[in-house]
């Protein structure tokens, strides 16, 4: 149901991996002396890497400021990356369902559609509870469902009902096929509590 920063992590790890690889190769080349052989301008392996006085390099205030800003920037990027690790639901806000806004708008909260889906799933036999989350736009909606069933439920039957009734009904309401659908099933020891009465179809005799 929740989304993680998988794509962001992969991108940053690839960037950091390339930088670390380049640094490692450079150190290996410098240590083996190959770098000096390739380019005589570079320092040899036995010589110190920094020959000058570092204090004179970092003495100007501008260099200190640049290093400080770069440090803050790197720290902020790291902090943002850590914050991006928090799993998020990222639900859709509200769907705009109008064709011509000049004649009026039609708005429907995605949670309203989610509640309708949940109500429909909850009527299936063996379902203890459910939650539905809609993401994406009204033209390309994604539906994620978490269905909790009890241990007597026929899971294949529930999945069939969801695929044959619940998902097509949502497609009918939004007038577009769903782009992606995810179903997470959980088994619980609880019993479904759907009510204490049932509509009778018996004959009434006057």
């Amino acid at each position: 149901m929740r989304q993680h920063a998988g794509a962001l992590n992969r991108t940053w790890l690839v960037i950091l991996g390339i930088l670390a690889l380049a640094g490692g190769v450079l150190i290996l080349l410098a240590a083996s002396g190959t770098l000096h052989a390739m380019s005589p301008a570079t320092v040899a392996a036995e010589n110190p890497v920094v020959t000058g006085d570092l204090h004179t390099v970092f003495e100007p205030a501008s260099v200190t400021a640049i290093v400080l800003v770069a440090g803050i920037l790197l720290g902020a990027l790291g902090l943002l990356w850590i914050l991006a690790q928090i799993p998020r639901r990222n639900p859709a806000d509200r769907y705009r369902l109008h064709q011509d806004p000049a004649s009026g708008t039609t708005l429907c909260e995605a949670s309203v559609l989610g509640s309708a889906v949940e109500n429909q799933i909850n009527t299936l036999p063996g379902v203890v509870g459910s939650s539905a989350l809609l993401r994406g736009s009204a033209r390309e909606p994604d539906l994620t469902m978490k269905v909790t069933v009890n241990n007597r439920a026929d899971i294949q039957d529930i999945l069939h009902s969801i695929n044959a009734r619940v998902i097509p009904d949502l497609s009918t309401a939004l007038e577009t096929p769903l782009r992606r659908t995810g179903i997470q099933l959980e088994v619980s020891g609880r019993n479904p509590v759907s009510g204490s009465t049932v509509a009778t179809t018996g004959t009434v005799i006057y």
């Binding site: 369902l97 009918t172 007038e175």
Partner: protein, 131 residues
Amino acid sequence: MNATAAHAGSRDLNSRGRTVLDRKVVEKIASQVASEESFAGGSSGGFLGIGAHSDFSARPEVTVELAGNIAALSMEIGLLYPVPLRQVTEQLRRRISERVTALTGVEVRQIDITVSWLKPADETTGRRRLL
């Protein structure tokens, strides 16, 4: 002779007085038209909006902004699930616009619809209902 008759006619029109419609009249007409559709409903019960429940037989909440003889409506409705939302709201918009204009003479230019709940027609709460 004709000039006299015309003068008398205009005097009659002036002597009839004016008919003024309150904004609430337009609101209630629009609300009633919406509730007459089988797929639309409103909310009923509760106190000061707290504890209200969705009801297909209730009138949806409508607010009207009037500018001269032109009205802009905004309404909160509940709809039957599953119905094609774009189609039924367009149908509802056309119907309300036609009926309000026919009954009041007010031109409805814009109807903003917010779908506040969706329910199947045969949904039961599983609890006893008072009739």
